[in-house]
């Protein structure tokens, strides 16, 4: 617990918290200070491995119907039980993890790329800034999950559309973060010096400014990954997500809704996997922030 309180102190009180102790040559202090992050990384590695190696982990076809084996409680044959159509929940949860992780990773990557490009442009070129930031502010006035719901409702349900909708909803916030970094860096002496010796603006932007925006961007990307996994499960849960042929943690929970009072196992297992995944990603994000920039406060 020592390490986690330490982590919270640096992340939440940029101005007042003590400097984090230097990581020495031994692993002891590192493990002590970054325990939660290491725990998160281990849990996430296990879940990723389970999702990737699903075919070799004793699963069956997650879509296979077995009318005779409807609504079974967990047993040696059906580790997590079966759902209302007799489908094996253990297989569905493992295969469902593939979709959730894919969505989280893709949304984070796309939103980071989009936010980086837009943020560099708006931060560096004042003419672009005035127009683009007005539009992005209006986008940010629509809560991200509602924007994603609206986008999905208009298109066909598919994993790609969920990824695109969530990436569009998250990009304005990343743009604002990158823009804030660029605005401070633009006034630095070394940028002025680069301009003075005739470096083209694009080179300044890519070689001298972009690398400095990477640390906060990576931290932000971790949190986006976690929140995208939650958003995907919410979309699937309310029926605006992936098509019924693709099991995801959110859709398994949605399908188990009507049987919840008698068969809580249908909801329990995907819920535990979902919460553990997001928890481990958030712990990694908190740890990365402390490692990369202790002064960086959480951008929401």
């Amino acid at each position: 617990m020592q390490s986690s309180t330490h982590a919270s102190a640096t992340e939440m009180a940029p101005a007042t918290s003590p400097e984090p102790e230097r990581v020495g040559s031994t692993w002891g202090p590192f493990l002590r200070h970054h325990g939660p992050m290491i725990f998160g990384a281990l849990v996430l590695a296990l879940i990723v491995a389970a999702a990737l190696l699903a075919p070799w982990l004793g699963t069956s076809d997650p879509q296979k119907l077995a009318p005779a084996a409807r609504l079974k409680v967990p047993s040696a044959l059906y580790w997590f039980g079966t759902d209302a159509l007799g489908r094996d929940l253990y297989s569905r949860v493992l295969y469902g993890g593939r979709v959730s992780l894919l969505v989280g990773l893709s949304v984070a990557t796309l939103a980071m790329l989009g936010g980086l490009v837009l943020g560099l442009l708006t931060g560096f070129f004042r003419q672009v800034d005035a127009v683009l930031m007005r539009i992005l502010e209006a986008f940010m006035a629509i809560p991200a999950i509602l924007l994603a719901i609206a986008l999905i409702a208009l298109t066909r349900a598919s994993v790609e559309n969920v990824i695109i909708a969530l990436a569009i909803a998250e990009t304005p916030r990343v743009t604002r973060l990158v823009r804030a970094v660029v605005l401070t860096l633009r006034e630095q002496t070394y940028v002025e010096a680069a301009t003075a010796i005739g470096t083209p603006p694009l080179v300044i932007l890519l070689r001298h400014i972009a690398p400095n925006a990477l640390a906060p961007l990576i931290v932000q990307g971790t949190f986006i990954c976690g929140s995208a996994i939650i958003s995907e499960s919410i979309l699937s849960f309310i029926g605006a997500g992936t098509p019924p042929s693709v099991p995801t943690w959110g859709s398994i929970i949605a399908e188990g809704r009507s049987y919840f009072q008698l068969f809580p196992n249908i909801i329990f297992f995907p819920a535990v996997f979902l919460s553990l995944t997001v928890l481990s990603i958030n712990l990694i994000g908190d740890g990365l922030r402390d490692l990369l920039d202790p002064r960086l406060s959480r951008e929401l």
């Binding site: 939440m12 009180a13 007005r134 991200a144 208009l154 809580p264």
Partner: protein, 313 residues
């Protein structure tokens, strides 16, 4: 002050108009064709065309935008495709449960999270602080419907303290109204409490290290007076900001919570509209929720002047 409030209210109109424009463009440029979806798989091309003309979907972009904006100014959000009733009427029927849930959640979250965050900062790295940290990490990681089902399982099914699902209007008595809303409020409040606790702690830590707090302590004020009267007031502006921003989380969470607890509110209306592809309904509800978000944050802006008299408008 009054002039400032009026000025800000007028300033919010273009933002809401821009949001309306974005939502309209999303509907317009979306790849799906509403007429085809409404008509169903078995419809003939003639039927699809008839629906398209009836909905005005055959008109060019600027005509449709003009009609949409003109109706919006008159307070007309169109007609639901599914029930053929005005969208504003259908939304109006669902406002009470959603406002009850939202207001109770904000109240509960502020009452729990602000003292918790303040205590965590005052007792930094002690037991209270660790508890606050665990609550905030869990609040950010456990999705709202998971919290909801967990609460139902423990407090409604096992202990039978509260009803499992449903909603009773306030006019049927405060007791039954409240008992139906306890579990939804708790599950919706989790992430909001996590958010406000974090920012309160961070903001308080910064204030508590200031010279004037040391002065207050040196002149012999009690800890209680220092924390609640001197420190919290100075820490209030970032807290108020996050209370406003966090409403975005609530609006998304309301949709899910109302589904989990079978509450007939605006969020449930949105979910049903999505399942039925009722475009005017979806458009209307999202426009309403986005407007609430903008107005709440406007109120937060105005509240800065109350917390910090140095802020003059």
């Amino acid at each position: 002050m009054l002039a400032f409030i009026i000025r800000r209210l007028i300033g919010a109109i273009p933002v809401i108009a821009l949001v309306a424009l974005i939502i309209f463009c999303l509907l317009y440029f979306a790849p799906g064709d509403p007429a085809t979806i409404i008509a169903g798989d078995l419809a003939t091309p003639e039927e699809v065309q008839r629906i398209r003309v009836a909905l005005g979907l055959d008109q060019p972009f600027h005509v449709r935008l003009g009609i949409f904006l003109l109706n919006l100014v008159r307070g007309d959000l169109g007609t639901s495709i599914f029930s053929n009733l005005p969208v504003t009427y259908l939304i109006g029927q669902r406002l009470e449960p959603t406002f009850s849930l939202g207001a109770l959640t904000i109240l509960l979250s502020v009452v729990v999270a602000v003292p918790l965050g303040a205590l965590a900062a005052w007792r930094a790295r002690r037991a209270v602080d660790r508890m606050a940290l665990v609550i905030s990490v869990l609040g950010f990681s456990v999705p709202v419907f998971v919290v909801g089902y967990l609460l139902i399982w423990v407090f409604a099914i096992k202990l039978a303290w509260f009803p499992v699902q449903g909603y009773t209007p306030l006019s049927n008595g405060v007791g039954s109204w409240l008992s139906n809303l306890v579990l939804p409020t708790l599950s919706l409040g989790m992430v909001y409490i996590a958010l406000i606790t974090r920012i309160t702690r961070a903001s308080m830590l910064e204030v508590l290290s200031q010279d004037y707090i040391r002065t207050a302590r040196a002149k012999g004020l009690s800890d209680r007076a220092i924390i609640w009267r001197h420190a919290l007031r100075n820490a209030a502006v970032p807290i108020a900001t996050v209370v406003g921003i966090g409403v975005a989380l609530l609006l998304g969470g309301v949709v899910v919570t109302e589904t989990v607890f079978a509450i007939p509110g605006v969020g449930r209306l949105l979910v049903d509209a999505i399942l039925r592809r009722d475009y005017p309904m979806i458009q209307g509800v999202i426009l309403l929720l986005a407007s609430i978000y903008i107005i709440v944050n406007l109120c937060v802006d105005i509240s800065y002047a109350i917390f910090d008299p140095r802020i003059r408008y």
